[in-house]
């Protein structure tokens, strides 16, 4: 078991950046969800302001964090499974989460842009989409940490 935990030194930087990107993505997504839900109630001006903040967090923090997570995933994948051969199932889970996940992030940020208007009807969707992404990220980190099935 200890042998399985030893990895070449050249894998450490991409793996660190990948996990860093993933945790930043989780935190940024949680912040968007929090601001989005808080922006559903109370004073209308306050709600619009909070929803605007959700947009900026999505654009300035979530998108770069997601790109870091996904880009470094490809980097470590190339090192660990060069040529894409013999990839285990848990790698596939990562793709299943991040490819639709990228679309989800784009839709979320676009909707968050429109929710900056007081008359926006799509405001309720943003925090729920963020919540779905949080669950999806949890599934991915389960697969990549526990590696069920080997």
């Amino acid at each position: 078991m200890v042998l399985a935990l030893i990895r070449p030194d050249s894998w450490n930087l991409p793996l660190f950046l990948h996990v860093l990107g993933a945790t930043l993505t989780f935190g940024a997504t949680a912040t968007v969800a929090l601001l989005g839900f808080a922006g559903q109630r109370g004073d209308p001006d306050r709600s619009v302001w909070l929803r605007g903040l959700a947009f900026w967090v999505g654009l300035v923090v979530l998108v770069p964090a997601f790109i870091l997570m996904r880009g470094t995933a490809l980097w470590i994948l190339d090192k660990e499974f060069p040529g894409g051969h013999n990839e285990p199932d848990w790698v596939g889970v990562g793709f299943i989460v991040t490819e639709p996940g990228a679309l989800l992030v784009i839709v979320m940020v676009i909707l968050a842009w429109f929710t900056r208007s007081p008359k926006s009807r799509s405001a309720v969707a943003v925090p729920w989409l963020a919540s779905i992404l949080l669950v999806a990220l949890a599934v991915a980190w389960f697969a990549m940490s526990a590696k069920p099935g080997g």
Binding site: F16, A22, G27, A38, L53, W141, M144, S145, A146, K147
Partner: protein
Amino acid sequence: MSLYQWLLFFHVTGAFFLIGGIVVAGILNLAAIVKDRRPSEVAALYGLIRFAVPLIGAGLLLTLVIGLWLVHNVGYGYGQTWIVAAIVLWVVGSALGNIDGKYQRQTGELAQRLATEGDAPSPELRARLLNPLALVISYASGLTAFAVLGLMIWKPGA
């Protein structure tokens, strides 16, 4: 799945909760200080920061307890450099976070009070938000978590 796989999953979950919670608190704190906001806006943001607290708390608990269990399960020595350094950083980060938490709680209470007293921008509140020592302590506590993440990956001395 083996015990090791479950332990690793819960340990990594702790890391996501801890760093995720730190990111939530950091972003909301930054949003409060980046502009000269009304006390009610600061109070609203600080009110949301409190949702990060249980996440950080759960993360601290899971990373430490499950981490020590993993050391035993895998057969690492408790005296290995990266493990000792991680525990030291965990303690330092927790202590700094505790100091920061108390300071931020008091700042939030001040913001709420000022919000009910006319809600005009307050130099006193602004000074608390931009207090250099408070900011250093706050971000240092967060950075210790990232440093521990680095130790977990590189495992110096393993």
